[in-house]
Amino acid sequence: MNENSSAVTAVVADPDTNSVRTPWAEFRRKFRKQHVAVAAGVFVLLLVAMAVAAPHIAPFDAENFFDYDKLNNPPSLTHWFGVDPLGRDIFSRIVMGARISLTAGFVSVAIGAMIGTLLGLVAGYYEGWWDRVIMRLCDVLFAFPGILLAIGVVAILGSGMTNVIIAVSIFSIPTFARLVRGNTLALKHLTYVEAARSIGASDWTIIARHIFPGTISAVVVYFSMRIGTSIITAAALSFLGMGAQPPTPEWGAMLNEARADMMTSPHVALFPAIAIFVTVLAFNLLGDGLRDALDPKIEQR
């Protein structure tokens, strides 16, 4: 469990300070060299724009429009991605589904990152009992494989997208807590923190103003990588029938519905599968690029 997040712990605090460039300019310079990651970033922005404008982009009502003449039709000019067995336009459903998946991915990781970062800062800064209690809690959360924990939470709270988001954010907490705790332990013994303490800064000021900024780059990298995993987990729960319920155009739920008609109309399953893949791929590539741009070790080679 200790060497758990090596890819993440490789990203330690700020880039080196012996160059005159500001960290932000340095980051932009390195990030721009990663063409794949820049493309992935642009794609993510486009996806977000599409999700925001979804009701205006979708040509048909995703849940209540039924084209009974074209049941199971393959892609055509009117229905770009074809029609599903109930006569609904798949393109509209995919576009509306982007809202659900992106929200689920982003909100769950944001909640997990906030709580995890706070716990990590407290555990790393105060050590002692705080540290022991928080790390023991993280051990317990780590003792369940992610999706099992999510299934347990959904079993207690009931099915539904909100509960899925809660479940997924709970299992993001321990990794963020560990990551931030490690960085905090390294940062709090540095001279500038000692200096801040010696001029009488309160614990809270030191944590929020001096230690937290040092952990941000690691949190950002892990954040973008985690979104991909969370989107997959949320879709998987919906696929298992524990998340979004049938009429909702959630990608995982759409795949589950499409299973019955795989033999006759495979295109119904194809497009949601591609949608999940492309979205998660973009977040993973973006995360890789951010890591390479923010990791001071990469430059040395």
């Binding site: 299934i151 347990g152 207690i156």
Partner: protein, 306 residues
């Protein structure tokens, strides 16, 4: 070494205890009355009261907890609400298919993932690397349930080469283990590559090359051994991932294993089965992590156990 293992085993006690409390509390957190669930929808209040007494749910909580712990230690998890069979029998029937599925997935994904990782590191930034890493990042991004459906559509439905559902012959294992192992193979490939790239830049590798050894000897004899250390750790951690992933893959392939048992149990609110499975899964996960830590020390003698 032995001292370290004992110490780690003792360290597990509080974690196991909290997991146990959580699993125990699970019944009481579930919405609705477990006694009513067990008695069935048409039961009269008297029957529900009888069932409550029968299940011991009318006793004080601490007493119930003690009974739960003693029962668990003896392997007695009560009876499934759905089939009325003992939970332990229910689990025993389903254990082996999941076990073999996990093992076959692990085996192919480790071999395949490490090969891609090594090739990518040796030909770093050339086409084998680009191809390997493209495959790897795709493997991480493709959700297992979608991959399973695509594979089943292609090889079972269209081509008719392989059976679709069930777990009877070795041919049944091919598609599910491919699906389950894909993400692990991808993670192993990325991890092996980065570990190998680090190693290949070390001084002793340069020395090995300088004294005129063949490149294959340098890579396999000097590089591989040292690159394996973090890779083994990763391998152990991925077992947990496989345990979780098997839940989804088993549903796709209608696999008669523990994962599907869990999903069905959640659907039916069959809480004794859920409790036992959650406990079993987390126990496996914890033990695998312990084994990994111990293996880590065996492979890398520079680690000192305190």
């Amino acid at each position: 070494m032995l001292q370290y293992i004992v110490k780690r085993l003792l360290g597990l006690a509080p974690t196991l205890f909290i997991v146990g409390v959580l699993v125990f509390m699970f019944v009481h957190l579930l919405p609705g009355d477990p006694a009513r669930l067990a008695a069935g929808p048409d039961a009269t209040p008297e029957t529900v009261a009888l069932v409550r007494q029968d299940l011991g749910l009318d006793r004080p909580l601490p007493e119930q907890f003690v009974r739960f712990v003693t029962g668990t230690v003896q392997g007695n998890f009560g009876k499934s609400l759905r089939t009325k069979r003992p939970v332990s029998t229910e689990i025993a029937d389903r254990f082996m298919p999941t076990f073999w599925l996990t093992v076959t997935s692990m085996a192919w994904s480790v071999v395949f993932g490490m090969t891609i990782g090594i090739l990518s590191a040796v030909w770093r930034n050339q086409w084998p690397d680009r191809l390997g890493m493209t495959l790897a990042v795709s493997g991480i991004s493709f959700p297992a349930f979608a991959l399973g459906m695509v594979l089943m559509q292609a090889f079972s439905v269209q081509l008719g080469w392989l059976p679709t559902v069930g777990a009877d012959t070795w041919r049944h294992y091919i598609l599910p283990s491919l699906t389950l192992g894909a993400a692990v193979a991808a993670i192993m490939a990325r991890f092996t590559r980065s570990s190998f790239v680090d190693i290949l830049g070390d001084d002793y590798i340069r020395t090995a090359r300088a004294k005129g050894l063949a490149e294959s000897v340098v890579v396999f004899k000097h590089g591989l051994r040292n690159a394996l250390i973090p890779v083994v750790t990763m391998m152990g951690l991925q077992f947990g991932f496989l345990l979780g992933g098997s839940i989804v893959v088993e549903v796709v392939f209608n696999w008669p294993g523990l994962g599907r048992l869990l999903v069905d149990a959640v659907d039916m609110r069959d809480y004794p089965v859920i409790q036992a499975l959650v406990l079993l899964f987390s126990l496996e996960f914890i033990l695998i992590n312990l084994i990994v830590d111990v293996l880590y020390g065996l492979i890398n003698p520079t680690i000192r156990y305190r």
